[in-house]
Symmetry: C3
Subunit: 159 residues, 3 copies
């Protein structure tokens, strides 16, 4: 569910071990709150300098690299309370720090939250958060059929 | 309007005929409810294994390929009724099945719904759903000027 | 904050000067309303014809190129008034015109609006619109620490 899309210039994240460690720390942010590890998908996209403009300018060689991260949250929606948003972005900051901020890169991220009911894994509806089925998915680290995973479509429904 | 972004590893969707058939089935899901065929845009992005992490791990050779699909709906917003969401995801499941599930791939998808009033094709406002103008767009399969396609901006408006 | 993701076929936007001019005009749309220049990020993605389907068909050579633009707005949410949406899309149309419409390309765009409180630049909360701090960011054209950029997370908060 969380999908992290990391757009980075040539010369950054060239090392697979760094990408691996970053993806593992991202994953831990979500497993720490009980979400199954396999929910967390991280994509790295290497961008040519000529295809990225910040403020209408490409990055010249020797300048500070700029990393743009797009995060999509689906499983959990943050309650509409300022402190909750702050807590979430603080967690993200901590994860990003060693891989981006501490390297001296500039960066920007935003989180988009989308409708949980429009989300499936292997055609199964992911179980409710903190349910027994979710704990099973966590433990098995894969989408396991459970009661409620295949609800019947109500016959009166139509688009 | 529906934009399907399909992120797949090397070794999957290598065959153009398969991509073509998949895109046609995706398109049919929307033309079946009266939307013009050219609204449906499908992108395939081939990802290197080293740039995709699921649960903090890259896919090792020989493992089950993982397909991540991001769908954006703009023209129609699903009514906030569980059965409507179920019906939509059931339709998506059916389309995905022969190309992804039946191949034994793992997959995940989510749908994001965005504001219809922030959407244009060739600078025209797409006509209201089930309007005569939409039927014209359907029949001609292109964006045709119609009354209402270029509304005047109200003069009192300002950001 | 505004992120413009421009998906274009081979044979379009091959010229760096054109991309540069387009990105500058995009940037101006936002600096004109007081947003700092460096907020505006533009990505170009060149797509192979075989990976893009419109209405289930790839573009054949010699056909009209199709440009798909995905815009994300974060800093400012458009008030829920038709005229405001119209004004925004009219501005976008004007920017796109010389680079896309006037070239005879087909195109489609949509804007997604996401939660401002889930957005940071260099781990700083971007200052409120029209604040003194925003003016400082505008003038310096970079993320500068200011009072309020690092709010304490309220202790009672929890996800």
């Amino acid at each position: 569910m969380p999908l992290w899309q990391i757009y980075h210039p040539t010369g950054t994240f060239e090392d697979n071990a760094t990408k691996h460690a970053f993806a593992q720390d991202i994953t831990k942010m979500y497993t720490d709150i009980g979400l199954p590890s396999f929910y967390v998908v991280t994509h790295f996209y290497k961008m040519d300098d000529e295809n990225v403009f910040v403020g209408g300018k490409t990055n010249e060689s020797g300048e500070t690299p700029f990393i743009r991260i797009v995060i999509t949250h689906i499983a959990l929606r943050i309650p509409d309370v300022d402190a909750m948003y702050l807590r979430t972005t603080s967690r993200i900051d901590k994860i990003i720090k060693p891989y981006v901020a501490d390297k001296g890169y500039d960066f920007e991220y935003h989180v988009d939250e989308t409708e949980r009911r429009l989300w499936k894994i292997n055609s199964l509806i992911p179980p409710p958060h903190k349910s027994e089925a979710e704990q099973l998915w966590f433990k098995e680290n894969r989408a396991v059929p459970y009661e409620g995973a295949y609800p019947a479509v109500l016959s009166q429904a139509s688009i």
